[in-house]
């Protein structure tokens, strides 16, 4: 905060704190109904029913994983078929060069490996991670979010953002505390 006070500040958004998961979910529902798009509900753990309250569509991560799984599956088969029967075929106890049943374990493992890469790094990608310079981290109060704080932040660049109306909406939804979030740089 201290740094933020010295530099010229630009409002990034409005942060409102709520008492518990039930109040947060209700506030999120109101914010969603009011038409806001650029907002998020922050909590120490995922809250059941929050996706519906915020009107979020289901995560598309599954498709990323599927693409990786397909790459892993065909990549592994191609590797084994190419090395064992094209690049350097060796007769091993009279087994066929293209011994597909024997290639299945490695194919399975590589499918799982690539899918896991897709699931983890795809999630990081969709979550904008790593991002260590989030303006939310300028708020001391926001540190509670990983402990027992429940917050909603509406970004200032949302079309519906209006200093008074947004504050009133968050207030009426039962906020216990409202503050501005600033970006450090003047952009």
């Amino acid at each position: 905060m201290s740094k933020a006070e010295q530099k010229p500040k630009k409002v990034y958004g409005m942060l409102a704190e709520y008492g518990n998961p039930a109040k947060l979910i209700r506030a999120a529902k109101l914010v969603n109904r009011a038409g806001y798009q650029k907002y998020d509900a922050y909590s120490p753990f995922p809250i059941h029913g929050m996706d519906e309250a915020m009107g979020l569509k289901e995560s598309k991560l599954g498709y990323i994983v599927l693409v990786h799984a397909i790459m892993g599956f065909f990549g592994a088969l191609a590797l084994q078929i190419w090395t064992s029967s094209i690049a350097y075929p060796i007769n091993i106890s009279g087994k066929p060069f293209m011994n597909i049943p024997a290639f299945i374990p490695v194919t399975f493992e590589l499918t799982v490996l690539l899918s896991a890469f897709g699931a983890v790094f795809g999630m990081f990608f969709m979550n904008n991670m790593p991002r260590h310079n989030n303006p939310l981290f300028n708020s001391r109060r926001f540190e509670k979010v990983t402990d027992d704080g429940f917050f909603i932040c509406i970004e200032a660049n949302d079309d519906f953002f209006d200093e008074d109306k947004t504050r009133k909406l968050l207030q009426d939804a039962g906020a216990t505390h409202i503050e501005h979030i600033y970006t450090l740089e003047d952009r």
């Binding site: 064992s84 091993i92 979550n127």
Partner: protein
């Protein structure tokens, strides 16, 4: 016909009136408190053992596998036994984190974090043995499909090569799964620790986690998918480990029961190891509210079930050897029971099949002391299971003229003991510097985490009974 049925609610997973923030401090403060003396002592001992392991490996690389007790019929000794044993132990971590997650067993949250840590360190210990047992460790990269000047490629028909892929995939996926689970908890520590250095380090690994629902949404999907991937993976890994034996034609190894039997044994020994570590950790760190007696009881039930499955497999192997009518197979099994290694066979039977049967008694299931002792007994028994399988079949196979007897040398023993140094060095560092219980997941299974727990105004309900009918705030 007028029997009355009563609804018996499950015991709360977190005991002792905790709030979200008291859970955070219960676990998060561990890394902030001054390092206790016992930690330095334990860490010092582990480091000595680790140094011994490195010394033994150096000696092996210098001198060759002749310093081990291997001889002509018995070409696989303690190295493979220790490998299978450590990998098996690792499997419980994945079972707890992935399979119990898919089955929506909320109690897993108390133990999944350090069971996963145990998995990773156990697989590290396991991975050492196949790497060093090749003898010429400087060409160990031949196991991987790396383009080289000879234009040679690995033999993809070999179960030993499948094993390379299975174990390395298993290690990688376990590590990723563990890390994904850690990200929100690293963020908790980032927002909590007082030292600047700590904030930077934890903040770096938290990757800028904010806890926004738009992040949680993808996070939960990712976790679910990883659990779905890790479940068949863990089954495939020990299946492939068992293929190392089952795909050969050695009597006593060449059996189709091996994959399920190995997987059951792996989960059995892994749960025993988690039990041993958990009982120590909950006592030292005062986590009895999170790792309750109910958790111990549930784990003991799994130990009982898998132990009995293993016992069934022992008996079934014997039956099939007789029913199959192959002379060598029949001999292999009778020889196990009354041959030169009968002592190991009956020790295995005693530890693995008879000792878990104590857990039929509710009192013993809920006794911390009994659980601790039996968990160690089970781990000894599972080590002997791998010894019996590996050594008896090799020592006396087809021709009596080429029979032999195997005993380990001091190098074998010290290498094995040294792996405990590696394991505990890592584990102690984990206990000291990382959140040893999944903080976010524990909060998730508390009744306050459910929006329906609150009354229509969104306030704490006056009624404290979780199972009483509550108005639906979402309506």
């Amino acid at each position: 016909m007028s029997k009355k049925y009563e609804y018996v609610p499950e015991q709360p997973l977190v005991q002792g009136n905790h709030t979200f923030s008291s859970i955070t401090s219960l676990i998060g403060d561990i890394v902030e408190r001054p390092t206790p003396m016992w930690w330095y002592i334990a860490f010092g001992v582990s480091n000595l053992l680790l140094a011994m392991l490195l010394g033994m490996i150096a000696y092996l690389v210098w001198e060759g596998t002749g310093i081990w007790g291997l001889n002509n019929p018995v070409g696989w000794g303690w190295a493979i036994i220790n490998f299978v044993w450590w990998v098996g132990i690792g499997h419980a971590g994945t079972l707890i984190s992935a399979i119990l997650f898919l089955f929506r067993q909320g109690w897993r949250t108390a133990i999944n974090r350090f069971a996963e840590a145990m998995t990773i360190f156990a697989v590290m210990c396991a991975g050492i043995f196949p790497a060093i047992h090749v003898g010429r460790i400087w060409v160990v990269y031949w196991m991987f499909p790396i383009p080289n000047q000879m234009q040679m490629w690995p033999n993809f028909n070999s179960p030993l090569l499948w094993d390379v892929f299975a174990v390395s995939t298993y290690f990688t996926v376990s590590l990723l799964f563990w890390y994904v689970g850690l990200v929100p908890d690293f963020a908790t520590l980032r927002d909590r620790v007082k030292s600047k250095f700590g904030r930077i380090i934890y903040g770096f690994f938290a990757l800028g986690w904010t806890g926004g629902n738009r992040q949680w949404q993808h996070y939960e999907k990712s976790y679910l998918i990883l659990a779905g991937l890790a479940t068949p993976l863990v089954l495939s890994v020990h299946t492939i480990v068992s293929f190392d034996f089952a795909v050969s034609i050695i009597p006593g190894w060449h059996t189709t029961i091996f994959p399920p039997y190995f997987v059951a044994g792996a989960i059995f020994s892994g749960f025993a190891m988690v039990m041993t570590l958990m009982i120590i950790a909950r006592k030292i760190y005062g986590l009895e509210d999170i790792m309750t007696i109910n958790h111990i009881e549930k784990m003991n039930m799994i130990i009982l079930v898998t132990g009995t499955m293993v016992g069934f497999a022992y008996v079934m192997e014997f039956f099939i050897a007789w029913y199959g009518g192959v002379e060598y197979e029949k001999f292999a099994f009778i020889n196990r029971a009354i041959g030169p290694y009968a002592w190991a066979y009956w020790l295995m039977f005693l530890c693995n099949v008879f000792s878990p049967q104590f857990f039929w008694s509710k009192r013993i299931r809920r006794s911390v002391t009994a659980s601790f002792i039996l968990s160690i007994v089970v781990n000894i028994g599972m080590w002997f299971e791998r010894f019996v399988i590996t050594v008896t079949s090799l020592a006396q196979d087809f021709l009596p003229g080429s029979w032999g007897y195997y005993s380990p040398t001091w190098v074998d023993v010290l290498t094995y003991v040294g792996t405990f140094g590696l394991f505990f060095t890592n584990f102690l560092l984990f206990l000291r510097f990382m959140p040893m219980v999944a903080i976010a997941e524990i909060k998730m299974v508390m009744p306050q985490a459910d929006p329906h727990y609150y009354d229509e105004n969104g306030d704490e309900p006056v009624l404290t009974d979780k199972f009483a009918k509550k108005p639906d705030v979402n309506a």
